[in-house]
């Protein structure tokens, strides 16, 4: 991690790996979508609508995962003063918010035919919605405070306080009686999904992860460039 502390070095590595990461992402999506839409069997109860699962579940995983990345990066920034950690946290937020929105939207589309309602107020949905609000609040802090260094310090606090919600989302289906089904992949006694449906789901999960990696690296690159531009502009004003 110390090795990446130098932005120039980070940029060099990011530029080198990005094409590969994008290629892997596209390949995984191709395989995953083929498996999800063509080879996976329809569910015996839900029929073809079960295919929503392959976009819905990975998006929800990523929404939680990205917030965890954000909180970890904030902690690293607070403890080690790592110069890129704040950049990582800041740029992860919009990506995570989109994943969160995607999981809410696809969940809503899935809920209509299955539960008969676009939205129900139960534990999992409510805590996921709160996660969306946390993403929005975090981005609002960055937007509201002009001075980047100060914004970074305040945003760290916001990200770390909001992290309390992540275990609540994860375990909400176990703690409360929920309409939403409980965890069926990451369980102590092994997944409860049949193999032909499980592998496309896992491939899609990997594809989403690589998509996040690609988007995140690109966004971090852009953010570093934006900071450079800001510094050049300030220097130019100083010269005048």
């Amino acid at each position: 991690m110390q090795f990446l502390a130098n932005p120039t070095r980070f940029l060099k590595i990011a530029n080198a790996v990005l094409p590969t990461v994008w290629a892997i992402t596209i390949a995984l999506f191709a395989v995953g979508l083929y498996g999800a839409l063509v080879t996976a069997p329809p569910d015996y109860q839900q029929g073809e609508t079960v295919r929503i699962m392959y976009v819905h579940v990975p998006a929800a995983w990523m929404a939680l995962f990205v917030y965890t990345v954000m909180a970890l990066a904030s902690a690293v920034a607070a403890i080690f003063r790592h110069p890129l950690a704040d950049v990582a946290a800041k740029t992860a937020a919009p990506i995570g918010a989109v994943f969160c929105f995607l999981s809410l939207a696809t969940g809503s589309l899935w809920g209509k035919p299955m539960w008969g309602a676009w939205w129900v107020w139960d534990a999992r949905l409510t805590s996921m919605f709160v996660l969306m609000l946390l993403y929005i609040g975090y981005m609002a802090i960055w937007a509201a405070i002009e001075e980047p260094h100060r914004a970074a310090m305040v945003a760290r606090v916001v990200a770390l306080v909001g992290f309390i919600n992540i275990p609540i989302v994860k375990f909400s289906v176990d703690w409360w009686n929920s309409l939403h089904q409980p965890a069926s992949v990451f369980r102590a006694d092994g997944p409860t999904i049949a193999g032909p449906m499980l592998w496309p789901l896992l491939v899609m999960g990997l594809a989403y992860s690589f998509l996040f990696l690609a988007l995140h690296l690109t966004a971090m690159r852009a953010e570093i460039a934006a900071r450079k531009i800001r510094q050049i502009q300030i220097a130019e004003i100083g010269e005048r």
Binding site: L133, I136, A144, M153, V158, I164, I168
Partner: protein
């Protein structure tokens, strides 16, 4: 400890003698509760059913609106700068201010909540559970509001931002507060909800001073 008590006393005195303190918050609380029956119609049965929820939401908003007073003035006149250099750890200063806010604003609002219940036809059997739940819950409300107030202390238009940041954190308080103040609930549920409310208050007691102090420090540098 003596210094911390002195700090709390100072904040209480300030909020008593200045206008726009408890009275305004209570007035706001009253207004929201009165607007509700006007907004949804005077049906007594309907009002009785939504009364606990209405009171809770009005309480959240009133606490939130008074939150900016926790640190704002001391930040603007420089007292906070001096407090960072004092012998009291800055986390304890933040805690003292949150406690003062609870004593001066949230607690009076919580005590007023069951009384305002008469306006929205709160069932008699719900009065006692509601009264206990709002008092316990208001501790967490003040502590969480302090985080929001600290995070936005140097911003000119921090009010709306405080709502976006703090209301998500209020959701658990609202959920368990409501299930503790439902009149027809099983007795075990009420106790369990009250215990969880207490747990939330204790967790915020730990998190709030640390988070508020960290946020305040970044503004004071």
């Amino acid at each position: 400890m003596k210094l911390i008590l002195a700090l709390i006393k100072r904040d209480l005195t300030l909020s008593m003698r200045q206008g726009g303190g408890v009275g305004t918050a209570l007035g706001f609380f009253l207004t929201v509760v009165v607007l509700l029956p006007i907004g949804i119609g005077p049906d007594q049965a309907l009002l009785a059913r939504i009364a606990p929820g209405a009171l809770w939401i009005a309480l959240l908003l009133s606490v939130l609106l008074s939150a900016d007073r926790i640190f704002q003035q001391d930040y603007e006149d420089g007292s906070l700068d001096i407090m960072t250099m004092g012998p009291v750890p800055f986390e304890m200063v933040a805690l003292a201010k949150a406690v003062a806010h609870w004593l001066s604003t949230s607690l009076p609002l919580a005590i007023a909540a069951p009384i305002l219940g008469f306006l929205v036809n709160l069932e008699p059997s719900a009065i006692l559970p509601l009264a206990i739940a709002v008092v316990v819950g208001s501790i967490a409300l003040s502590l969480l509001a302090a985080i929001g107030a600290a995070v936005t202390v140097g911003l000119r238009r921090g009010g709306l931002l405080v709502s976006i940041l703090v209301l998500p954190l209020y959701v658990p308080v609202l959920i368990f507060g409501l299930s503790a103040s439902q009149p027809g609930a099983a007795p075990g549920l009420t106790t369990a909800s009250l215990l969880i409310l207490g747990a939330i208050a204790l967790v915020s007691l730990v998190v709030s001073p640390l988070a508020s102090a960290a946020a305040l420090r970044s503004y004071l540098k």
